[in-house]
């Protein structure tokens, strides 16, 4: 087969990877990749209380947490979107600069109305959508058969869901009783 095409995805693989993945996508929606997508966590720097996520990321992602986790947040006493974002930020601490840079490029891309339209089927910023609309947005995005939206959905939602359920509190809501106790203390959060 022609290895320059991701099978059936309709994405030209070589063109897709020529720039960074998300930078290429920005060009496709008409954004200036070099100026808009810094992909750098230190610019403008992390939000207060975070090591990696920036203010604009927190604002972008906060409304998505509850519909994405579908009852997983509410199952933990006193937990809300910010706890999920904090968990995501802690997961990112294990990553590398290059890898986080890719994520920030995707998040920068999702700040653009045209990109949101292309990827999620809606122009509106997530902050301006109600719960029902956000569920529709996620459903539309998850069912989008375009190679790029599929990659974006996996690239963003997989680590967020993983980050939430690695927390002991959320882990226990799955029916998992938790790990044995090591040493004299208890496992940290």
């Amino acid at each position: 087969m022609d290895q320059d095409n991701m099978p059936g995805s309709g994405v030209d693989r070589r063109g897709f990877l020529k720039l960074s993945v998300w930078g290429g996508a920005a060009l496709a929606v008409g954004a200036g990749a070099s100026t808009l997508l810094t992909g750098c966590s230190s610019d403008p720097g992390p939000a207060g209380g975070y090591k990696h996520l920036r203010d604009k990321d927190v604002t972008l992602l906060r409304p998505l947490m509850a519909p994405l986790l579908g009852g997983g947040l509410e199952a933990v006493d006193g937990a809300g979107p910010d706890q999920a974002l904090q968990a995501f930020d802690r997961l990112l601490q294990g990553g590398t600069d290059g890898q986080r840079g890719q994520l920030f490029q995707l998040l920068d891309l999702l700040q653009l109305g045209a990109a949101r339209w292309w990827i999620t089927g809606t122009w509106a910023h997530f902050e301006e959508q109600g719960d029902a609309q956000l569920r529709d947005t996620l459903a539309h995005w998850a069912n989008n058969d375009g190679g790029f939206p599929k990659l974006a959905f996996k690239g963003l939602t997989q680590p967020i869901v993983m980050a939430w359920y690695v927390t002991p509190e959320a882990g226990r809501t799955t029916g998992y009783p938790g790990p044995p106790v090591v040493g004299s203390g208890t496992a940290s959060a």
Binding site: P7, L17, P67, G71, M162, P180
Partner: protein
């Protein structure tokens, strides 16, 4: 209901207690001044290849320095918290993926490498694989007869024996399903001594039952006088095109950022043992002589598909030895180099990894994950690299020098993914599953094999439709004759006279079995020969 959450694990002897006082240990995070260290041999990486080599060379009286990018953590630190484990013990915090995002890669990043977090399955390299290497790549003197003495030695040293306790309910799916279907299955040999059977191999063994490099070869090497510098990244080999004169190392602080110092390691013999991805990346950053442009090419993954079964009875897939039974029904069915073959195993499920692998969102994803206690997860490890349409991936460098693996998901591989999903779904129904879901973003839980077989024919099998993973990175610096190999069968790099590669990156293809024992045996053979030459 199984519940180990009140089990207390304490008073476990840890070989690294007081390591800073009894051994030559340097924590890179504390190094703020430039320094140069000298030895007979520098070994880059402390996983399966580096650990075995360090013990053998140290025992031969050679002065060894080990350098490791991960931090030193040991049983005292392993708290069985899934998030802490990913952050501290895995490459890229367990979020490593191939360049186009299609394949997730679990690989260790700590003193002891992946041996600290693997699931303990220990197989000798299949004869079919070694024969293929001889015929197709000119790898000589590496038959099973050549390697068996070294496999035997490592099996004895690491307590490798078929698991004697009953399989947990998750692994029992293999036995029940395969027996009903008349398929092959057998017990997995594991590298454990006095295993508590709790199921946390992937988070660092808290009881030191797992005979990883962390508690076997590395303490032996330290006791024999080796020096370990951890939290220190080997950035470049300094060379003149014929010999390596030094390794340039960047010490890292607790956030894995450079401390600002540079450590220079000098030795007449250098061993690269960073494993697949890291060793080729080091060679690429170093711009080593590579006349045919082979460094980093032909990197293989045992690309793995998944299937989830729901059972009426409790499975508790988070507890118990994570892998104890396997099936070779489909491993070599199509011959060595025909349509891709796959080995069937099970994987342990803890909530975080489960959430990531199940995918989806919202109420449905929540319903799936809250069925965790009754969920089993099978995996199929595809043997990549044996067919011309399976060229594997290529290690590339990001602008900042970090490696990234470009691994195109080919139609050849997707055909294997499709067949392997059918096999897994059939096996899980035969094992008594009430519902089974193949790992596919559009597939629901099917309620019968007949329904699944029909519906799965309508699914598309494309990259990103089928979630794929890997826990076995191999190749990128292959053994072979001078026309086909970057290193010879003794692990000597063909284009730099004092550089050796002793790790999984030397495999010319994938293996068809979990790789740790193959790396141990081959490294033991080659390190023994090297020690003899260096002492002569």
């Amino acid at each position: 209901m199984q519940d180990l959450s009140t089990l207390k694990i304490q008073n476990i002897a840890d070989p690294w207690d007081n390591a800073g006082e009894k051994w030559n240990l340097i924590d890179g995070a504390t190094v703020s001044d430039d320094r140069t260290l000298e030895a007979d041999v520098v070994i880059i990486g402390t996983g399966a290849g580096g650990g075995v080599s360090a013990e053998i060379l140290s025992a031969a009286g050679l002065k060894v320095i080990l350098v490791e990018a991960g931090r030193l953590t040991s049983s005292r630190d392993f708290n069985l918290n899934e998030g802490d484990a990913y952050r501290q013990l895995y490459q890229e915090g367990a979020m490593r993926a191939t360049k186009d995002g299609a394949i997730t890669i679990l690989q260790g990043r700590t003193v002891g490498g992946t041996t600290v977090v693997n699931w303990t399955s220990s197989f000798r390299t299949p004869k079919e694989t070694l024969n293929h290497w001889r015929e197709r790549f000119g790898v000589d003197n590496t038959s099973r007869a050549d390697l068996d003495p070294y496999f035997q030695r490592m099996e004895k040293q690491l307590g490798i024996e078929p698991w004697a306790m009953p399989a947990n309910a998750n692994n029992d799916v293999i036995k029940r399903g395969c027996e009903k279907l008349g398929w092959d299955w057998s017990v997995i040999p594991r590298n454990v001594r006095g295993c508590w059977n709790i199921g946390y191999c992937g988070m660092g063994c808290p009881t030191n039952a797992k005979q990883s490099m962390l508690v076997t070869t590395l303490p032996a090497a330290m006791e024999a006088g080796a020096t370990l510098i951890h939290s220190a990244r080997a950035d470049k080999l300094v060379h003149d095109g014929t010999r390596v004169s030094a390794v340039q190392v960047t010490p890292l602080n607790h956030d894995r950022n450079p401390t600002g110092a540079t450590v220079t390691l000098k030795a007449p013999t250098i061993i690269a043992a960073g494993g697949g991805i890291q060793t080729p990346a080091l060679l690429l950053r170093s711009e080593v002589p590579d006349p045919d442009g082979r460094v980093g090419k032909r990197t293989f993954l045992h690309v793995t598909s998944f299937a989830f079964g729901r059972y009426d009875r409790e499975i508790a897939p988070y507890y118990g030895a994570p892998q104890s039974l396997h099936s070779d029904q489909f491993t070599f069915t199509g011959g060595v180099d025909g349509p891709i073959g796959y080995k069937l195993e099970m994987m342990p499920l803890h909530p975080g990894l489960t959430g990531a692998l199940l995918g989806g969102f919202g109420e449905q994803a929540r319903e799936h994950i809250t069925a965790l206690p009754n969920t089993a997860a099978s995996i199929a490890l595809m043997r990549d690299g044996f067919h011309e349409e399976s060229p594997g991936g290529t290690v590339e460098l990001r602008d900042n020098g970090e490696p990234v693996l470009d691994y195109p998901v080919t139609d050849y591989l997707l055909d294997g993914a499709r067949r392997s999903l059918y096999s897994q779904v059939e096996m899980q129904f035969a094992a008594g599953a009430r519902a089974v879901r193949p790992g596919h973003i559009r597939a629901p839980f099917y309620t019968s094999w007949a329904q699944a077989r029909e519906a799965m024919a309508d699914l598309s099998y494309q990259a990103l439709d089928v979630p794929l993973g890997s826990a076995h990175v191999m190749g990128g610096c292959p053994m072979g004759d001078k026309d086909r190999g970057l290193v010879d069968a003794q692990g000597r790099y063909r284009h730099l006279e004092n550089l050796y590669v002793f790790d999984g990156s030397v495999f010319p293809t994938s293996l068809g079995v979990n790789p740790q024992l193959s790396i141990y045996g081959l490294s033991a053979r080659n390190a023994t020969a090297l020690a003899e030459r260096l002492r002569a």
